[in-house]
């Protein structure tokens, strides 16, 4: 009886998940649909006969955008770690006076609407002449991840056993050495978590890219899709193929690094 009941629940769960993920399926389906079938009514529910033309178009037209997004993603990860890890160490272990206030400012910083940041950055970048450059975009994208990074590192590094740091100090290690040779190596999980999200947010960013890099020579994949939608309204299989490719990092993150995602997600919000 109870056995049957749990299978029933699994069945319901499968149906619900299918409904929820239908748009994702549809994106994949359209990406394999031939151009001549794309406006058929009713539409093809399965991509049979299918085509890889959309993906060929991605290879030929979007390769550079993808490369740019990868560069921006890694740049954002590096900058985020460089800023957030030392700050997390200090907040967690060194009891800075005013550290609580700084944490609070970081929380508020996360709530500032992106368009306001974009507007401010636009004015600053214009004067510094870094509008439409990748370093400019990397700096802007890092604002998506730095406050999150500091908070994750603070939470994680608070949990490092005291003995470890005491041992390092007895060996004569200063703060810098303790941080680099003791704290960073044991913080691997939080480094992975912060890096994954920093990469994903930079990869997904649209508003900074559109505002600060819209006229640049190297455009990220989000703008690749955006311009695609604007330009050739007919080639939906190519657009959806690009969308599928743009979803790869998110998918990988979920498959390969699910426990790190869980670490990032369950670190908190809910105090129990």
């Amino acid at each position: 009886m109870s056995q049957r009941k749990t299978w029933l629940k699994t069945g319901i769960g499968l149906v619900l998940t299918g409904l929820m993920l239908f748009p994702v399926y549809w994106m994949v389906n359209v990406s394999f649909t031939r151009d001549r079938d794309i406006r058929k009514s009713p539409p093809n529910w399965f991509p049979v006969p299918g085509t890889l033309e959309g993906y060929r178009a991605v290879l030929h037209q979007q390769g550079q955008y993808i490369a740019t997004s990868v560069v921006v993603g890694f740049g954002t990860v590096a900058l985020t770690l460089l800023l957030a890890a030392p700050a997390g160490y200090s907040l967690a272990r060194l009891r800075p006076r005013g550290g609580g206030a700084l944490s609070f400012v970081l929380l508020i910083a996360q709530m500032i609407p992106g368009i306001i940041m974009a507007m401010g950055f636009y004015a600053i970048f214009l004067n510094l002449k870094v509008l439409n450059t990748l370093p400019g975009l990397i700096v802007a994208d890092s604002t998506l991840a730095v406050p999150f990074g500091v908070l994750i590192f603070t939470a994680f590094m608070s949990g490092i056993p005291d003995e470890l740091l005491q041992a390092a100090r007895i060996d004569g290690a200063g703060h810098l050495r303790s941080f680099w040779s003791v704290v960073m190596p044991v913080s691997r999980n939080s480094i992975v978590t912060v890096s994954l999200f920093a990469f994903l947010w930079a990869w997904s960013d649209f508003i900074f890219a559109n505002t600060l890099d819209g006229g640049g020579r190297h455009l990220p994949i989000t703008l690749g899709i955006y311009h695609y939608i604007g330009n050739n309204n007919q080639q939906w299989s190519a657009i959806m193929a690009t969308a599928v490719v743009a979803s790869i990092p998110a998918t990988l993150l979920l498959i390969v690094a699910q426990r790190y995602v869980a670490a990032g997600v369950t670190a908190g919000a809910v105090k129990d």
């Binding site: 993920l21 009891r95 709530m111 368009i115 608070s158 969308a243 995602v261 990032g264």
Partner: protein, 327 residues
């Protein structure tokens, strides 16, 4: 930007912040070193992020405020020396015929999105918290909409809602309902972007409410069951009251992050047709960047009004969070 992705950020945020603000860990350093030297070291590690906050958060905010209080032209935007104009930009916005619709759309978009996201998210959480085969895997799959880049979700929904070739209209057709011009009819555009936004926000609500449900001890249910409460009563009399703190956090964070949604609306409708889905976020962007002749001043003024709305809910959130930590 990544509001959905960011949703993840707030997840960890409160806890991380709480840990930092309220429970300084027993650091061994303090005892053995001179306080002044140790403070110096502490702030040396914090210096990069502090400078970063000042340059890349405080200054853009200041610029935004400055823009809204001066009469900027394209020339003075580049070279400076814009004359001070007080609240003129705000008055321009208030008398703009876009103001009332934009405010209304912002409120409708936010309230309706959150209502549906929350109810669906909670229902799913209640469902998934009863462990069954594959439940962990399926729950993980529910995160997908949240992790996808917004441009991907928005363009997929755009195509699904396409008037002539979209799958939604085709499905409606098969049950005898005539086609709806989802994105091109003024009365449906806002509905369309709300539907897409609900889809994106469900995972966030599911995850938060799920973790809230997990925190409830099974003993309480046992006791309720012994007292003869049925499933429905157990939910309304036991589960729901115990979830109130999590609910407050989820709804307030939802408010903060839905008020500023920009990407989905801009990509799907650009706030149109004829302003039918314009919110404060898209209006502000439209003013500053959407026209040939940018209106930086009024655009910044709209953005600042948005930030005030956001921060009001933000501070309510912090108060509740603090109260929960105290109790």
């Amino acid at each position: 930007m990544s509001d959905r992705a960011r949703a993840k950020a707030h997840q960890s945020r409160p806890d991380g912040g709480g840990a930092a603000a309220t429970a300084p860990p027993p650091s061994a350093q303090g005892g053995t070193r001179k306080p002044a030297a140790s403070q110096l070291a502490a702030w040396a590690f914090l210096a990069p992020v502090t400078i970063y906050l000042l340059v890349f958060y405080a200054y853009p905010l200041y610029r935004s405020l400055d823009l809204s209080l001066r009469n900027y032209t394209v020339r003075s935007f580049v070279h400076g020396h814009a004359p001070f104009s007080g609240f003129k930009n705000y008055r321009i916005d208030l008398h703009d015929p876009t103001f009332t619709p934009a405010l209304l759309h912002t409120l409708i978009f936010t309230v309706v999105s959150i209502a549906f996201q929350f109810v669906i998210g909670l229902a799913l959480a209640v469902f998934f918290v009863q462990h069954f085969k594959l439940s962990a895997t399926l729950r993980a799959l529910f995160l997908v909409p949240w992790l996808l880049p917004l441009i991907v979700s928005a363009s997929t929904w755009s195509w699904m809602l396409n008037s002539d070739s979209g799958v939604v209209n085709s499905a409606l057709h098969s049950v005898g309902i005539t086609s709806v011009n989802w994105l091109t009819a003024p009365k449906w555009a806002l509905v369309s972007v709300i539907i897409a936004n609900i889809w994106i926000g469900i995972p966030f609500n599911l995850v938060l409410m799920y973790s809230g449900l997990q925190a409830i001890s099974p003993d309480i249910y046992e006791a309720a069951a012994l007292d003869g409460a049925n499933g429905w009563q157990r939910f309304w009399r036991v589960t729901f009251p115990l979830l109130r703190p999590v609910t407050a956090v989820t709804l307030l964070l939802g408010l903060v992050y839905t008020l500023k949604v920009f990407d989905i609306i801009w990509i799907m409708t650009r706030g149109g047709p004829a302003g039918a889905s314009t919110t404060f976020a898209t209006w502000s962007y439209q003013l500053s960047f959407g026209n040939l002749l940018p209106a930086f001043g009024p655009g910044a003024a709209v953005a600042n009004m948005l930030i005030v709305m956001t921060l009001i809910f933000g501070f309510v959130y912090f108060r509740i969070q603090r109260k929960q930590l105290e109790s």
